[in-house]
Amino acid sequence: MPLDTSAYNLALLRVDGRRWNELRRIHAQIRTQPAADGSSYLEMGHTKVMCVVTGPSESGARRVGTTGGAAAGALGSGGGGSRDGDAEVVVSVVLAGFSSVDRKRRGRNDKGILELQSTISSALSSSLHTHLYPRSTISISLHVLSQDGSLLAALLNAATLACIDAGIAMTDYVAACTAGSTSTYAANDEKADPLLDMNHQEEQELPGLTVATLGQSDRVIVLVCESRVQVSRLEGMLAVGVDGCKQVRDIMDKVVREKGRRMLEEGAIEKGVGLEDMDLD
């Protein structure tokens, strides 16, 4: 087995060979399921997720497909945008049994999954213009194929891309990533470096948080920290995380523009369907 995270100080290298401020490789695609309203596929390192968006559709047809049960769960946990007249954002997350090392199946009512769903739902509601789609439902269905840390961040990014693909009006990208710290809480090391984009091993051994910002701005719309960490380290972690979000946003933006350019070339879209102002270099 490789060394653990305590080896960082030997050469300022993390367990997978990255420096403290480096993202893992991000690979993303949109329109992966042409039959769906919107779809995406996203990899952050070995964390791999797929997303399909259905809607906005009329509320009566809310329980479409196989995602109904989980959607109800998300509703129960107070999915965002359920204010009268606004579109409802219903999120379902399914973790494939083979996605993690221990291959444990997690039920739909698993607390962790319910929380993921509710976090994603409220995060996207704050960027999507739900008031434009009254009495309708936007259903986001996420499938996790492989897990290697930063799961919530990957899910948020994939959902954003799929919503863009579905053409739902939104303020800006919701870009997310994780940040951690190079030594444990108990070590109480004041000089610990912050870390960007944690993998599974780092999440197991070190404190960390997930942060999402709205586009290029510094507006933090998601901040989840489930581990114990000294307040003094938090500022550094947050700064690195917000900076990471901007990098993630640029990567996603490139993916969207590239896809758009290719679709225009292939004639898949007529020019002038609201795309004329798009800067296609």
Binding site: M1, P2, L3, A7, L10, A11, L12, L13, V15, D16, G17, R18, R19, W20, N21, E22, R24, R25, H27, Q29, R31, T32, Q33, P34, Y41, G45, H46, V101, D102, D148, Y185, A186, A187, N188, K191, D193, P194, N199, Q201, R228, Q230, G236, V240
Partner: protein, 985 residues
């Protein structure tokens, strides 16, 4: 159709991303496949001060600080590499010869490859930690090069290639890269980069590829003091080269594979446990496994199969017809295997004729006996899960030294460890002449099937046998006591004022925050004579309502020792202060222990106080905890306090308050005894030293005074009160101390002995029942008999242990010996680390200070408990060994006659305990008379009757008159006590 399929070739980053696949099996036996990403890069520096290009691209941490470069620009040369060199050792070089790398005379500028570091970590955590501390030492210049992350040195495993071959290849590739990389620096003298390995194949391949490579011994020979260092090269390495020559004669059965053992243990066919050697018979071991109530016996060299005391082994139960009762015969290794030739091992019979004879008699005896009930299951060792080898102190067996040629050629000799449970170790050395007659430190390297004894290597000499310096260091090493002076980083944590530190005069000072001012109270301390580290002090005063206020004030060590600083770390490693007869090895620096923390009289000190309101019947009405400032009025010795209490003319307030405390303590003690607290005994003696020469002049058994009970009772009360409080505040992470109820079988033998010999019953249903039945074990003619039984009962007990409250159910918190539901250590923070942790937890519980993360991290606390449990035990053993040594010294050249008691009996000897010296010793039949008398042994009735050259009848518990002299034990090289039987009484 869009597709998720994509080719990685198009990805510009693809070339620099690789993944590693591991397979690991979990504790429950599941196999997991783990895939890890690896990011390859070009900015990992070589860390040589010669290299400018790496220096410019040096990585920086978040604060922008670059990592300093490690490898010298003028590395030392050897005869073969005069231009200077860097070393790149492979995994086995570190695993086999870590001692060499730690030498101060050589082994500088070493590149530790990531692949090697990972392998070392997988193979041995202690060695990994030693290697890490080498990389942190600035003098040694060890640099960890992450070869697996550097694009040029990353090596992917080829199809069909074994992991070992792949790792060897990675080492060669990294070595080669270093050479080429340094050649580009255009330095005037480019150092050679030398691979160190003991693997022939790897060496050959390296040479084929043009990489400079040496085996350990080839390399060491190039050094200046090569001869001395050669001895440090472990035996196994040379074995590596000679193995092929050796004929396939294997003396021991082969070990099972790890997976076979695991499957067997899971299926219940095999059993796993810690191997213990009998102190009286080196060919008998025992192992406790959950499946059997009694421990399993492992008899004979072949069944023991190379297990050494403390190893974690797997055993297989032998068929029922081979079950035996535990040995009743003393068999000592030195007597049986004397004059064995360490060189000529091969070809000799494996189990020597003498050993066979010794064991045969055993078997005959047990098989002729019809009493099936006594037979205990026997087992044989089929494999070792984890060796518990450490470094051993011993001396060279004079009889194994060859008399011919005293040149510097390599000799093979035996080393006899001080610890009798460790078999003798075969050692090859070029310096026999210098080492004979010295205390030496050795390590065991291996024990292969072809060799009767384990083989090891020499580490260093401690000095002449029997000199005080060498024997004291030997003792400290044997019990793993950290005795080096405190490093500067620790001393830097002390208050800058030094001895001039004072409690601030102004009560507005930050130090006074939330402290009660108790300077007006009549507080005093009562300790043994000459006590310098005064942990505790007491006071009492009557209250208007007829109750009494009692305070226990403990040195406020946590004020001076802050969590996680260097001093705290050092104290947590040391765990406890160790008291030897003539020496104290402190847990905390002297300045704190004997001055600033110590509750000395007449000066103001910070304290942590527990203050109760007690009713006249010693019931607790209420209690409060507070940090405080006190001023002790007097530091009494137990004797002084006793005199003062007993002297009716003394009517001052202080004496009256001590008398009140004494009355209350008697009530407290009575209550504990009613609850079932045990009064156990261990032979305690005190060595009186001549102060000028520090030579022992006399030995005295410790006297018990009422004032000792006084202090003890209030300390127990404080400990239990604090335990309840911190458990209430931190249900998951309170540091507590428990004492498990002993398993019933522990008392089987003692109960049977009492029944057969004295017609007494020992009942052990509860601690109360045990305490009561111990009280009835009285021999009117022999006042010491009751104490003797208590000493023997103590040895049947479990050891008390520290634990973290979240790891046990509440019912298991019980302290059996004290009959207390919950208990901790709070009253001696100067000398015990557990107490310091309890102080921090109590301070947080009363909201004096915020909770520090380290005192509520369960993982951290569990590690602390594990360490201090071991340290605590070792400190006790070291203390006892020190007393035994000095008792021997005080008897030197004198012969005294003493009364003793037979506490254990064998078919060829018996053990006598002499209470006056608190020592016990084995008297063998062959010591009784010359020639050895015939003997008949009645195991049922514990009677040994001799006939022939001397006729005596010895039975268990019997009082005997013995002559006590001192004698150098040929076997262990220790000076110790020898007893001769004068007559039975």
């Amino acid at each position: 159709m869009a597709s998720l399929k994509r080719s990685l070739d198009r990805d510009p980053l693809a070339a620099s991303i690789s993944s590693k696949v591991y397979v690991r099996s979990t504790k429950s036996g599941k196999v997991q496949k783990i895939v890890r990403e690896v990011y390859l890069r070009r900015d990992i520096p070589c860390s040589s001060k010669l290299c400018q290009s790496c220096l410019q691209a040096a990585p920086r941490d978040a604060a922008g600080r670059p990592i300093p470069f490690v490898l010298s620009d003028k590395p030392a040369g050897t005869s073969k590499f005069p231009q200077g060199h860097y070393l790149v050792p492979d995994t086995n070089a570190f695993l086999n010869a870590m001692d060499l790398f730690e030498q101060a005379s050589a082994f500088y500028d070493v590149v530790v490859l990531q692949v090697v570091l990972e392998e070392v970590r997988n193979r041995s955590l202690p060695l990994y930690n030693r290697l890490i501390s080498l990389t942190k030492s600035e003098e040694k210049r060890f640099y960890v090069f992450f070869n697996e992350f550097r694009l040029e040195t990353h090596v992917a495993r080829l199809e069909g290639e074994s992991v070992n071959d792949r790792n060897d290849r990675a080492v060669r590739k990294a070595t080669k890269w270093y050479s080429e990389h340094l050649a580009r620096t255009k330095a005037k003298k480019v150092p050679a980069v030398v691979m160190l390995s003991n693997d022939r194949d790897n060496l050959r391949k390296a040479r084929d590829e043009g990489i400079p490579a040496c085996s350990m011994s080839e390399y060491v020979k190039q050094l200046k003091d090569g001869d001395r260092l050669l001895d440090l090269i472990p035996e196994s390495e040379e074995g590596e080269f000679t193995k092929e020559k050796r004929t396939g004669e294997n003396l021991y059965p082969e070990y099972f594979t790890m997976s076979k053992m695991m499957t067997g243990v899971k299926a219940g066919l095999l059993h796993q446990g810690t191997f213990n050697v009998s102190p009286y018979n080196y060919l008998e071991g025992s192992i406790r496994v959950p499946a059997f109530p009694k421990s399993l016996i492992i008899l004979g060299r072949e069944n023991i199969n190379r297990a050494i005391d403390g190893d974690l082994v797997v055993v297989e139960i032998l068929p029922k017809d081979q079950w035996k009762s535990p040995s009743t015969k003393v068999i000592e290794e030195d007597a049986v295997t004397k004059n064995e030739n360490p060189d000529a091992e091969v070809g000799e019979d494996f189990v020597s004729e003498k050993e066979r004879k010794a064991l045969q008699e055993e078997v005959k005896r047990t098989q002729s006996k019809t009493t099936e009930g006594h037979a205990q299951p026997t087992a044989k060792v089929v494999g070792v899960i984890k060796r518990n080898w450490r470094q051993y102190v011993g001396h060279i067996d004079q009889s194994s030294v060859s008399q011919s040629g005293q040149g510097r050629k390599q000799d093979t000799v035996f080393v006899i460890p001080m610890d009798k449970k460790i078999p003798k170790i075969r050692l090859r050395t070029r310096q026999v002449a210098e080492l004979v007659g010295k205390r030496i430190l050795v390590a065991i390297d291996a024990w292969d099937r072809g060799s009767r004894h384990p083989s090891g290597h020499f580490i260093r000499s401690l000095g002449e046998l029997e000199t005080k310096a060498a024997e004291t260091e030997a003792l400290l090493l044997e019990y793993d006591v950290q005795y080096r002076p405190f490093p500067k980083t620790v001393l830097d944590c002390l208050p800058q004022e030094g001895h001039g530190w004072k409690v601030p005069e102004s009560t507005d000072d930050a130090g006074w925050r939330d402290r009660a001012d108790l300077r007006d109270l009549l507080i005093c301390s009562i300790d043994p004579i000459g006590c310098q580290d005064i942990d505790d002090a007491l006071h009492s005063r009557p209250l208007p309502n007829g109750n009494v206020e009692v305070g226990v004030h403990i040195a406020d060590v946590s004020h001076f020792v802050k969590p996680n600083n260097a001093m705290d770390m050092e104290a947590s490693v040391r765990g406890t202060t160790v008291y030897l007869v003539d020496k104290r090895i402190d847990m905390l620096p002297m300045l704190l222990g004997t001055d600033l923390c110590s509750l000395k009289p007449y000066v103001e000190r910070y304290a942590f106080s527990v203050i109760w309101e007690l009713s006249p019947d010693a019931d607790i009405v209420n209690v409060r905890f507070t940090k405080s400032v006190i001023k002790s009025r007097e530091a009494f010795s137990y004797e002084q306090a006793q005199l003062r209490v007993d002297d009716a003319s003394q009517q001052d307030e202080l004496t009256l308050s001590i008398r009140t405390l004494l009355e209350l303590s008697k009530k407290l003690k009575q209550r504990r005894i009613e609850a079932g607290a045990l009064s156990l005994s261990s032979p305690e003696v005190k060595v009186q030293m001549e102060s000028e020469t520090s030579d022992p002049i006399d030995v005295k058994t410790k006297e018990h005074l009422a004032t000792m009970s006084l202090v003890e009772e209030f300390m127990l009360l404080a400990n239990t009160t604090v335990a309840a409080k911190i458990y209430d505040a931190f249900p998951q992470t309170a540091i507590l101390r428990r004492h498990g109820a002993p398993p019933k079988t522990n008392f089987d033998e003692l109960a049977n002995q009492l029944k057969v010999k004295k017609g007494m019953e020992l009942s052990i249903e509860s601690s109360r029942a045990l305490a009561d039945s111990l009280d009835t074990c009285v021999d009117p003619k022999e006042p010491f008999f009751n104490t003797l039984i208590r000493i023997m009962a103590t040895r049947c007990m479990m050891a008390a242990e520290y634990f973290c409250s979240g790891t046990q159910a509440y019912d298991d918190f019980r302290h059996y010996g004290l009959a207390s539901e919950i208990y901790t250590h709070f009253t001696s923070p100067i000398r015990r680390y557990a107490d310091l942790v309890a102080h921090r937890q109590l301070a947080a519980a009363i909201e004096y200070e915020p909770v520090h993360p380290s005192v509520r991290s369960r993982g951290r606390l569990e590690a602390v408990c594990k360490n201090i449990n071991v340290r605590h035990r070792n400190a006790q053993l070291a203390g006892r060994a020190s007393i035994a040594y000095y008792v021997g010294q005080s008897l030197r050249g004198k012969a005294t006659e003493e009364d003793g008691f037979v506490i254990k009996i064998f078919s060829n000897g018996f053990v006598v305990l002499v209470p006056r010296f608190g020592i016990e010793s084995l008297i063998r039949l062959r010591d009784i008379a010359e020639p050895e008398p015939e003997a008949t042994f009645d195991a049922e009735n514990y009677v040994l009757t001799t006939a022939g050259s001397r006729e005596v009848r010895v039975e268990l518990f019997q009082k005997v008159r013995v002559k006590v002299t001192d004698q150098k034990d040929e076997a262990t090289g220790k000076r110790g006590v020898k007893m001769e039987l004068i007559r039975t009484l």
